[in-house]
């Protein structure tokens, strides 16, 4: 197990290296930050050159990349081209806000999805199943930003229950969390249902029932445990989608999260901010998926992980 984790951490280094390279190259291809900064002022060649020098952009790419990589190792991601502040604290404060939204969404999503999925599967074909499937289908079919807009229209503009936008405490967390959670629940409930149906049809469930175990014990202990395997994989996969959803919702709700930071940074060609944000989010994502894969072995001993 320890060896497996170590190997995965080694993979992580490789993956992060790949990502650092992609982001380093693409962000530099999007345009020159100096030109973006001095836009409209019709700068002299000297002014541009001195600014480039100050930002370290006059050095060869390989040197710039080396500085970037060295910075990662020492957790020093440089300073923002635009604000002059160190990047890491900038991202850190935004990441908290984003994480809050994501967690809110996951909590709402799981709370809806697991019961709906199980009920749909065991009451298969009944009105409850139709209802459950309806909910999950709507969840995966709604454009999140549109749902958010409609919710704002109804609950903020008309009913004044929640703020239209911003981040003022719990009440402003409700609408974005619900939007995210509802959509996540659509995906999850569907998967829980499908895999529950699959597992419930298999021989060992019949055996367990025949052995005289109670219905609920079979459902929860025998079926759900196995049905969760594909569900959890997909949840790990969905974490990326969830982040994407958060970025879009941050825009709709004017939530001061990392998504809006990156959007602005790309527009301003603020290389250090873009590079560090992408790398940190990727790292987060990889860690979530490491945990997901470790839970594989726990849920399905047929998949041996140690060797």
């Amino acid at each position: 197990m320890i060896r497996y984790i170590l190997r995965r951490l080694f993979h992580t280094v490789f993956v992060l290296f790949g990502i650092s390279l992609i982001v380093f190259v693409t962000v530099r291809l999007t345009g020159n930050p100096v030109a973006a900064m001095l836009q409209g002022s019709n700068p002299s060649v000297q002014a541009m050159a001195s600014l480039e020098k100050a930002l370290g952009l006059n050095q060869p790419y390989i040197v710039q990349y080396w500085i970037f990589i060295k910075g990662i190792a020492t957790l020093n991601f440089g300073t923002s081209f635009v604000t002059g502040q160190p990047v890491l604290p900038m991202i850190w404060s935004r990441l908290g806000a984003t994480a809050l939204l994501a967690i809110g969404g996951i909590v709402v999503g799981v709370l809806i999805a697991i019961p709906v999925g199980i009920l749909s599967a065991i009451r298969y074909g009944t009105i409850l199943d139709v209802l459950g499937r309806g909910i999950s289908l709507l969840g995966i079919s709604f454009p999140n930003y549109w749902l958010a807009t409609m919710l704002i229209l109804i609950f903020s503009v008309d009913l004044h229950w929640f703020p239209v936008a911003g981040s003022e405490g719990f009440s402003s967390l409700v609408l974005p969390s619900f939007t995210l959670g509802f959509i996540l629940a659509g995906i999850l409930a569907r998967l829980v249902r499908t895999s529950m149906l699959e597992t419930l049809g298999s021989q060992y469930i019949v055996t367990a029932r025949a052995k005289g175990l109670t219905r609920w014990r079979v459902i929860i202990v025998h079926a759900l445990r196995n049905a969760l395997l594909p569900t959890i994989t997909f949840m790990g996969i969905q974490f990326g989608g969830l982040l994407g959803g958060v970025v879009i919702l941050e825009e709709v709700f004017s939530w001061p999260g990392i998504g809006r930071l990156v959007l602005t940074a790309v527009n301003e060609r603020d290389y250090p901010v873009v590079q560090a944000s992408v790398l940190l989010l990727s790292f987060l994502y990889i860690m979530v998926n490491l945990v997901v894969d470790l839970s594989y072995a726990f849920l399905d001993p047929r998949i041996r992980i140690g060797d």
Partner: protein
Amino acid sequence: MSSIPEAQRSVLSTPHVPSRFSRVLRNLLGNQGGLTGVFLVTLVFVCAIFAPWISPHDPTAGNILNRLDPPAWMAGGNPTFPLGTDPVGRDLLSRIIFGSRISLYIGLLSTLLSVIIGLPAGLLAGYFGGLVDDVIMRIADVFFAFPFILFAILVLALFGPGVNNLVLVLGISGWAGLARVVRSQVLVLKELDYVKAASTYGATPGGVILRHLLPNVWGIVLVVSTLNIGINILLTSALSFLGLGLDPIIPDWGGMIASGQLYMTTAWWVDAFPGIALMLTVLGFNLVGDWIRDVVDPTMSR
């Protein structure tokens, strides 16, 4: 979960196996979700193909005098604009009809691209394991861990907005997810006795993959790709909503919703109708996906 699955029972009781086509058709007629899905998807295709003939107005021409007209049935509504008009006076219905073109085009092509890359990658990684698995999955990990929306923002900032750039971004981002799902399915299948037996009796890796693994992953590939078409249509609209992705001249649902944001409190229809069109399209694909799964794998089903 008491009984033998429907399909098996009918095979057991009938003397002849019905033709594939009649089986598919009968399945569809007995499946309300599938029927609804086929209806919705057909509707979108009809809109996309016949857009110039069925839309009442030119989707790009507007008259500022008609700006933000409410839907026809509301007070102040104009019967020539059934769903009202947008902030520059263009007919919403016509724009929604034309918007189906871009959604379908991007949704289908990008998913196809993902399957072309992801399916073989997942099969190979899962079956061979070891170094092959390592290399394929590490590359997948890179694509996978790179936050999609940031990847899209960067690439579109780089290549500029455009339909084909969107297909590329979505297709390339989608393959890793598919590969992963296929691989995890193969990992389970590989442990099954009959697959092990096939290898023991000398089946070549290619034979095992094509004969035993591929037929058993089709179901999940179809389910995931159908989801993918819907997801990609949604993502396209989301990127367009963020102002990335598409030329504002082209009518597309996400861009329409974005243009309505400013007028949300006074002209709800500008946001509401394109969103409903988008939702119904994605819903259609999801329902069709469910139905396809019924046909492909009756034991999994319904």
